[in-house]
Amino acid sequence: MLVTGLLLVYLAIRKQFEPLLLLPIGIGAIMTNIPLAGMGESGGVLYYIYAVGIKTGVFPLLIFMGVGAMTDFGPMLANPKTALLGAAAQFGIFITLMGALLLSEFVPGIQFTLLDAASIGIIGGADGPTAIFLSSQLSPHLLGAIAVAAYSYMALVPIIQPPIMRLLTTTEERAIHMQQMRHVGKAEKIIFPLSVFGLCIFLLPSAAPLIGFFMFGNLMRECGVVERLSKTAQNALINIVTILLGLGVGAQLSATTFLNVATIGILILGVIAFAIGTASGVIMAKLMNLVSKTKINPLIGSAGVSAVPMAARVSQKLGMEADPQNMLLMHAMGPNVAGVIGSAVAAGVLLTLKNFVV
């Protein structure tokens, strides 16, 4: 396990795989696995961090609040239909969930419960805080593997997504230019987080912690009257919590919970989740082009998985390959941020399992 931790540190530093999370996670994994040191056991410092911040769900929610304060929903508000791409990309989550159940049905040695399958599926949400929050609530024993898979595949988005995107689109489609975005007003940006939170309250209360903190962060950003809180939420607070969250998640990476066939299953399912999410985003865009007169470039569909802003950059890159004048980045940010909401909604659905199962 020390080697696993070191590998994560190496990937973080050398390959820049989401270093803000994977570096602390790697160090936490090393610390917790030092023989005789007991840093992750009851009375050890990592145990306290885990118990206070992760078991309670407080840390991922505070990070989600900070992410909300850093997110500009402008591109999505300018072209709201692209939010549907962020819905479609969540197919990755649910198909992976079924994949996990099939695996435990047919592969001996893998025994995922429905809760475990849900936690594994959320990897396809391509959103770290959501994945950590959900698995901390449903399957704490898989938390480490799921977090590592989620952040690793987010870092691998520039490798996982392009072949799928190329396979599903023609050069002409990839060259589609999208029209300049309209100006989005300040009032619209303030109303938006409140609307999303309102929808969540009436449709899906179980998603309220995730959506609520995410939208609270965004409201602090946009409302213009609490700039000092917004700045702190985006900086000192999210940084402090990131360090502690990383260490606490890493502390869950012990040999018994990580070095087993289930982890291999999770890693395989995780990449499938990303691939399906990517594909369904692209296909959704093509379907929308069948019915709508203003065409959208299907490359921005893949950004619906979230993995903000990496996936949007991939869309931009492939668009420029097809036509160097094609600027998709801002258009891809729409589905990109919608994907964050989409996976938080999916997580809300999965969180309801907690009450029914067990």
Binding site: P80, L84, A118, E188, A338, G348
Partner: protein
């Protein structure tokens, strides 16, 4: 259990789509209701931009160089001091 998984997947995707479709509708509605505010804001910004772009472009580029240096110096200083 796979059956339960399928049920969950169908419900889940339905809810995700319903949620985001409603979201699209709400966003479009609020854009329509707030159109006058937004347009006024846009006009004001446009006016402001025209004004500020009237200034001498040469002076501006020099200013920008100075600013960039000041900001980078500030950053370095921060690193040393703190």
């Amino acid at each position: 259990m796979v059956v339960e998984g399928i049920k969950l997947a169908v419900t889940g995707m339905l809810i995700v789509f319903i949620f985001l479709i409603l979201l699209v509708l709400v966003v479009q509605l609020s854009a329509r209701l707030l159109r006058s505010y937004t347009q006024q804001e846009e006009r004001e910004q446009a006016r402001y931009k025209r004004k500020s772009s009237a200034g001498s472009p040469l002076a501006d580029s020099r200013l920008i160089a100075v600013i960039a240096a000041a900001v980078s110096a500030h950053r370095k200083k921060m690193r040393i001091v703190n």
